[in-house]
Symmetry: C2
Subunit: 148 residues, 2 copies
Amino acid sequence: MRYSHKLSDAVHILAYIDICHDDDLSSTAIAASVESNPALVRRLMGALRRGGLLATQQGSATPKLARRPAAITLLDIYRAVEDDGNLLHVDDKTNPHCIVGGNIQDTLRVAYAEVQSAAEVQMKTITLARLIGDILTRERAKQGSAGE
Amino acid sequence: MRYSHKLSDAVHILAYIDICHDDDLSSTAIAASVESNPALVRRLMGALRRGGLLATQQGSATPKLARRPAAITLLDIYRAVEDDGNLLHVDDKTNPHCIVGGNIQDTLRVAYAEVQSAAEVQMKTITLARLIGDILTRERAKQGSAGE
DNA sequence: CATTCATGTAACAATTAAAGTAACATCAAA
DNA sequence: TTTGATGTTACTTTAATTGTTACATGAATG
């Protein structure tokens, strides 16, 4: 498959809603920033709403964060938009009559869960507030160095 | 795309070569355990060889681990077989004229690198020796409980 | 209250990375 | 020299993501 950008685009949407709260917040306007299309934006917004991160209203282009940016972590967003939240995948078609093929699936499941857990612990430390702050800092740095 | 099983199959191959060292170690025999095909096995073995984890000889079905299983980590295997070693992917097509679209790529790259690093630290702690030991332990548990 | 424009959602097509298949050059071993 | 192995490439098939289109539903304005 193609590599998923859902997490990146979901962060983009949330950051956009927070930073550009005075601008047009329609799915079309957000899609222009993501360089994607309104349907994709609405799909992701639906997932974020079901994940308790976003409040939307049908018919009205007035999405709002459901929590403070400091109370939204990258892990929250990840779990909201990624159907398959697994970073690594066990091959579930191995020969059960072989010592290796018959046991490796359970062995790898445990190992992969440890890796997944380590990644999620880190994702939990990264808040939307930090990401928004970083975006704004980078923008200021650009302004400050303009025309040098 | 489909989810990659390359890491799982590569671990399978290495564990098979160590555990079944007295059996047929042809790519066809290994493919039967993986329930895949010989070409896939040979492709992965080629990557493992280039990664310095496996010693093979063209024309002879005598692959050998290039290091002790205790000196091979899940991270070594991951890096050997995954062309794109990134667990998360930045959307590299965002509107550069927007505050968010113009800065979020760099912002996410940093954040994703932290997550990647946390996962890799954990992968580094998981050795092939441990995975092999786990497979053998599970097999013994099956034998002990046979017919219960 | 009708028009306009928004979201919410689903169905379908297009894209792309992985896995399957086949072919063949090269090398080992009997 | 014959047989069978690996190493490698090209091509096909599969499947998850993204793009596209359509339309039901709700909000807002005159």
